[in-house]
């Protein structure tokens, strides 16, 4: 084994790929009634992957596979959170899928491959690996969104996602080719080394950078490249929406970190203004348009767009503090979003999606506990103390003020206040309106327990954010 092929650091990827292939094969020999075996195998694989990731985690940055793979502490933490997000979303969606005849082995295989794509992006050290990771993730997600194949709306949103995703990949690839043309290398660390020699005024560099930022913005779903987000969130089966809203967000953050910070960190003055525009537009459009929504999945989609604006704020700070804040924001946002979609899944039944805002009316009378869980999640998303969303927003705004962009911090706070209206409206519907739907909650014990823990975690992290903040500070420095 040569020094350039260090397989040990890539054990998590190797394991997940092998596990996904084994599950694909095992699933063929399992009858429809025993499909739960596939589900359990997937869960065990996730647990084992987490164990392997911790066991072979690196303390220092290691680049291997001839400069295509990087292992670093940030990657380890992001990968662990990805497993967590995937496990939670699969756990929440099991009953939903079973009730709708979507509980098939391929669902879990596609989810595992999507997760592998996320891991590849997290550990990408070259433009080539980044692109392959993006494609692996996107292809699996297109398949998942269209999974309910007889549903016209799902098929339509999958088609939109596919076409717009292809455009985004094209943009990303075009930008990469420009950067490769200018720097003569695909390796991100080499690109970072060569940028000072090329000079920031190079036309090719600016051109490539612009296309890369567009590609990243598409994948993030930042305004004005957000058109696919509401349609995909609304059209896909809720279980898939939950998945699309969780692990891929971590991937987008990793994509921005690897591409813009690791590779093009020297050109921060060039990409900062672009991200400022994206962030301000995302916060504005996301928060304002969300007010007009009557479908909670669509509302959460616009809410995602506004949160993406916040994550971009942290990245554009261009300081270690900013990256830490963005990472903290991403991780806590994913935790909160998973919980919110989990509540929608909890309330859904056979033939009842529970995705209209009105379906939440009077939830407090029907189930006081889950109404309070949802309220905690919603308050956290809105950024109300003492929930974790507040700490995350605070960290990002501190980072922004740290680089002297006080006006931008003001804009962020202003739009957060606007956003609070539609979040608190959900709480009002749950507590002060008479129930419209009187069907019982059918969810099983596992879903109830984990979802409750999810809601409490948002509160606990908000009260004691130090642990996660320290972790983020330790892995990005």
């Amino acid at each position: 084994m040569s020094a350039n092929l260090n397989f040990v650091v890539a054990y998590p990827e190797i394991f997940v790929l092998t596990a996904a292939c084994v599950i694909l094969l095992v699933d063929l020999f399992v009858s429809d009634r025993q499909r739960i075996v596939t589900f359990l195998l997937t869960m065990v694989s996730l647990l084992a992957a987490a164990f392997i990731t911790v066991q072979y985690g690196v303390a220092e940055r290691v680049i291997t596979f001839h400069g295509t793979y990087v292992a670093d502490p940030m990657g380890t933490v992001l990968k662990l959170s990805t497993y967590g997000a995937t496990a939670l979303s699969l756990l929440y969606s099991r009953e939903y899928l079973q009730r709708r005849g979507l509980f098939k082995g391929e669902y879990f295989v596609l989810a595992l491959f999507a997760m592998l794509g996320v891991m590849v992006m997290i550990s990408a050290a070259s433009l080539l690996t980044i692109y392959l990771g993006v494609e692996l993730l996107s292809l699996s997600l297109y398949g998942l969104v269209a999974f309910d194949r007889d549903n016209g709306i799902a098929a339509e949103s999958a088609m939109k996602y596919f076409v717009l995703g292809a455009i985004a990949s094209g943009m990303l690839l075009y930008g990469m080719s420009m950067i490769y043309g200018v720097t003569g290398t695909l390796e991100l660390s080499q690109i970072a080394n060569r940028i000072p020699g090329i000079g920031l005024n190079s036309l090719g560099l600016a051109f490539g950078l612009a296309f890369l930022v567009v590609g990243v913005a598409f994948k993030f779903g930042a305004v004005p490249f957000h058109m696919w987000v509401p349609d995909v969130y609304h059209g896909a089966p809720t279980a898939v929406t939950l998945f699309v809203g969780s692990a891929p967000k971590i991937a987008s953050f990793a994509l921005a970190m690897r591409l813009l910070v690791d590779g093009l960190g020297g050109a921060v003055e060039q990409w900062r203004p672009m991200l400022v525009v994206l962030a301000v537009l995302s916060m504005a459009i996301g928060n304002v348009v969300a007010i007009a929504q009557t479908n909670i999945k669509r509302m959460l989609a616009y809410s995602t767009i506004s949160h993406v604006g916040f994550i971009l704020l942290g990245v554009l700070a261009g300081t270690v503090q900013g990256y830490q804040a963005a990472m903290f924001y991403t991780l806590t946002y994913v935790l909160t979003a998973v919980g919110s979609f989990g509540v929608i899944l909890l309330l859904s039944r056979q033939g009842f999606e529970s995705d209209a805002l009105d379906d939440f009316k009077g939830l407090a009378k029907k189930s006081p506990w889950f109404a309070s869980v949802m309220a905690m999640l919603i308050f956290s998303t809105a950024g109300v103390p003492p929930f974790v969303g507040f700490t995350a927003k605070l960290a990002v705004i501190q980072a922004i003020i740290g680089i002297g962009y006080t006006w931008l911090a003001g804009v962020a706070v202003f739009f957060s206040v606007i956003g609070a209206y539609y979040y608190i409206r959900v709480v009002k519907l749950m507590y002060f309106d008479a129930p419209v739907d009187n069907g019982p909650i059918q969810a099983g014990v596992a879903l109830r327990t984990v979802l409750s823990a999810n809601g409490l975690a948002v509160l606990a992290l908000g009260l004691l954010p130090g642990l996660l903040l320290d972790l983020c500070a330790r892995v990005i420095s």
Partner: protein
């Protein structure tokens, strides 16, 4: 002009003609066959560029597999060429300037003489030295793919796998009244299940009556 250059110009000319054939042929089957011919000529040009592995792969994969499949599809679908061509004059005003622009761009890259080293003119790039006669392109590619590009290669393979899985998930389903082969049953069939020998009582010839009638 060396022999290689003459070969290059001959095959390039044929390639251009066949490419024009692809877009001007009225019958889609002819179009597909022109495309096969174009692939074949490009393969030869690659061969001249010492990229023999790519040349062979182009013939094997594109001509041998993709185009044959394409021909099947073209023959099975009822494609109305006139409908496809209906919008030609309507969009020509948009297409023509774009085509001219692209031709101009290519021309400027190929013919513009380099003023300094940074220009994109062809003369600014030195032509690579030819490899020795025993140089193996296939071996070099293989060595790169399985060492330096091992990780991307495996990822590309996973992407293909997931494409297959997703395509099958989205298209395969159990439909009622479908006529499918049961291969197991076909193989385990016995001769006596296939041929049923039925004793049929011999039919008495009715010739007797006619004989009687005649007599």
């Amino acid at each position: 002009m060396s022999f290689t250059e003459i070969l290059f110009y001959v095959f390039s000319a044929v390639l251009v003609v066949s490419a024009l054939g692809v877009i001007t042929a009225r019958n889609p089957v002819y179009s597909a066959l022109w495309l096969v011919f174009a692939f074949f000529n490009s393969a030869i040009i690659w061969m001249l560029l010492e990229a023999e592995f790519l040349a062979i792969i182009l013939i094997l994969v594109y001509v041998g597999a993709v185009m044959v499949l394409f021909l099947f599809v073209v023959m099975m679908l009822d494609i109305k060429v006139e409908e496809l061509r209906a919008g030609f004059t309507r969009y020509a005003w948009l297409g023509l300037p774009i085509a001219l622009l692209v031709i101009g761009e290519i021309g400027s890259v190929v013919w513009v003489k380099s003023q300094d080293d940074k220009a994109l003119g062809l003369s600014s790039v030195a032509s690579p030295a030819a490899y020795a006669a025993d140089y193996s392109n296939t071996k070099a590619l293989g060595q790169l793919l399985y060492t330096e590009y091992l990780y991307p290669l495996q990822l590309a393979a996973s992407i293909l796998l997931i494409a297959i899985v997703a395509a099958i998930v989205l298209t395969m389903r159990k439909r009622s009244g479908q006529k499918v082969q049961d291969i197991g049953a076909q193989i385990s069939v016995k001769a006596k299940d296939r041929v049923r020998i039925v004793k049929v009582a011999a039919v008495q010839p009715e010739t007797g009556n006619t004989v009687e009638g005649q007599s």
